[in-house]
Symmetry: C2
Subunit: 333 residues, 2 copies
């Protein structure tokens, strides 16, 4: 009997802030898996800020999403049928085939996950791309030392909250910026030293008060004003981990950069962008150390969950309105 | 008999572009050199853009110049009297005691230079701080590979023209930006592949035409529009060597940064500031390799010379009006 799958397609390219009308729901009939192929039913999918970038029709490190085609993104699912000897029904697998309920794909494109020990959606969060993004870049670009002062923007998100906790485990002082006192209360409950609500008062003054001696590492999820503030309070030889600039992604006009760029020279700052796949050589180290921390309860996370593939666009839009706490997920089955 | 020395003092802090009225000439009587001290008569002194930063009263990597006191900067001179066993009359020495005709200083603060082989002012240029700035940062931050495309702003200056020639010696393609066709003609005569006159036409279009496949290394002397253009044409994993931002140093209002900062993330750019003293561990390598290139005629330079300490302010002001070609020097005796 044919397997049906509902999926979310890009209907039109967002101009500025994405909206529901940019997406459409469709139902497709999946083929039988061919030789080397696997049929998977997704249980969880991820929505992430970087997906906004793929909605522009422009060259980037990953090709743009195409109008009329299903979107893509991280997903965890269970193998239903397999014509690849490496997989059997019941296996937990990770793929980039999110935004759909089920799919047929070459086994070679799937990543088999260890069974048990942690809930499956952890592989979309602290043990998935966000966790690996945090872990690899914090070490590789941030070069943390015990005693360093670390400033994290977007700190309540999946990547940011992982960075905060990894930094604490490395003996750093952590200042977290987020857009709500409830988010900051949770961050303090997992060990963050100082919280700054960027929606209240003057950001520069508040960060200065939290870091009177300046910062050694800035983990940037947002760009814009936060980046300018970080340049202002940076100590000599500070490292800026440029993970994202969500504050400017939706701007339709070019956004002027920080007014204090000259500090990069005067303070000898290193500012470096990356994507997680640049650090694939750290994958085993990540699974070993971060997996241990997760099993030992040393790394915690929060989730915001929407149910059903039809609500995936709503989950995605929440990323830009601050409507999520921690990892934004969609439960698919 | 007492030794007299004329010197240039900071009379007032410049607001915006420095002007002649910010400086004053004074004459001092030097003391006899005490134990461990040396009397030196300067033959050449250097003026450099970074000195503008020291004229602000603000914390930085070096303390600000003080009103009513002699300015400081690189100088080469000859020992006249010595109470330090390491120096004898006639020795060529390098110091930070520029902007004056003669001085008494502890021998420990002086750097003895090798005699002969190159003209003494080379130790203020290609074999001095500008050359070492170029050589160390180009290798340490730029991580050049043969075949890389290198874009250099302020390319006709002492640092920029050294970077261009070092890059050619490393097998790179070099695109040089300068503010005059005569400067670009000279740069082409020493091997630069493409010249861009930033005062003519659209900078982005001109750089794109010179580097249709993009750039791998940007050596930034100027900041501002050049930095934005470099971000625009950067290839993935490009390295930005942030040496200076002379285009914004004199602005009295904060200058907005590049409007395309998000490329740092998307293109995984590394942007890093430095000062030459960060790379002192490369000093021996620099003298050995760069000294060899200079003696072999593989590194050339141009000089613009003013005569007499009283004309040092004029020489300094020329740095901001584009009045110099190559290294700006003042001949003192």
């Amino acid at each position: 009997m044919a397997t049906m799958s509902r999926e979310i397609r890009l209907k039109s390219r967002p101009v500025g802030l994405p909206e529901a009308a940019n997406f459409e729901l469709a139902t497709v009939e999946l083929p039988e898996p061919g030789d080397g192929e696997v049929l998977v039913r997704n249980s969880w999918m991820s929505v992430d800020p970087y997906m906004r970038g793929r909605m522009y029709d422009r060259p980037s490190y990953v090709p743009p999403f195409q109008i009329g085609q299903a979107l893509q993104g991280g997903a965890v699912g269970t193998v239903v049928k397999s014509n690849d000897a490496r997989f059997k029904p019941g296996d937990l697998v990770e793929s980039m085939n999110g935004w759909r309920e089920a799919y047929v794909a070459a086994g070679a494109a799937l990543n088999k996950l260890p069974a048990g020990g942690v809930p499956p959606q952890a592989y979309l969060g602290v043990l998935g791309m966000p966790g690996m993004t945090a872990y690899t870049s914090f070490h590789r670009i941030g070069e943390p030392k015990a005693g360093d002062v670390v400033f994290v923007s977007g700190a309540a998100g999946a990547v940011g909250s992982a960075v905060c906790q990894i930094a604490k485990l490395r003996g750093c002082t952590v200042i977290a910026s987020a857009g709500g006192d409830d988010k900051l209360a949770w961050l303090k409950s997992v060990g963050v030293d100082h919280g700054v609500n960027y929606k209240k008062g003057n950001l520069l003054e508040n960060v200065r008060a939290a870091a009177p001696k300046g910062i050694d590492i800035y983990f940037d999820n947002v760009g814009g004003e936060h980046l300018e503030v970080a340049l202002e309070v940076a100590r000599p030889f500070a490292r800026f981990i440029e993970c994202g600039m969500i504050s400017i992604y939706n701007n339709t006009e070019p956004t002027p950069g920080p007014r204090n760029m000259a500090y990069i020279v005067g303070k000898r700052i290193k500012m470096q962008g990356f994507i997680v796949s640049d650090f694939m050589d750290m994958r085993e180290q990540f699974y070993a150390e971060m997996g241990g921390w997760v099993r030992d309860g040393k790394i915690k996370w929060e989730e915001t969950v929407e149910n059903g593939v039809e609500n995936a666009p709503r989950a995605f839009l929440k990323l830009f309105s601050g409507g999520n706490t921690g990892k934004m997920l969609v439960k698919l089955s």
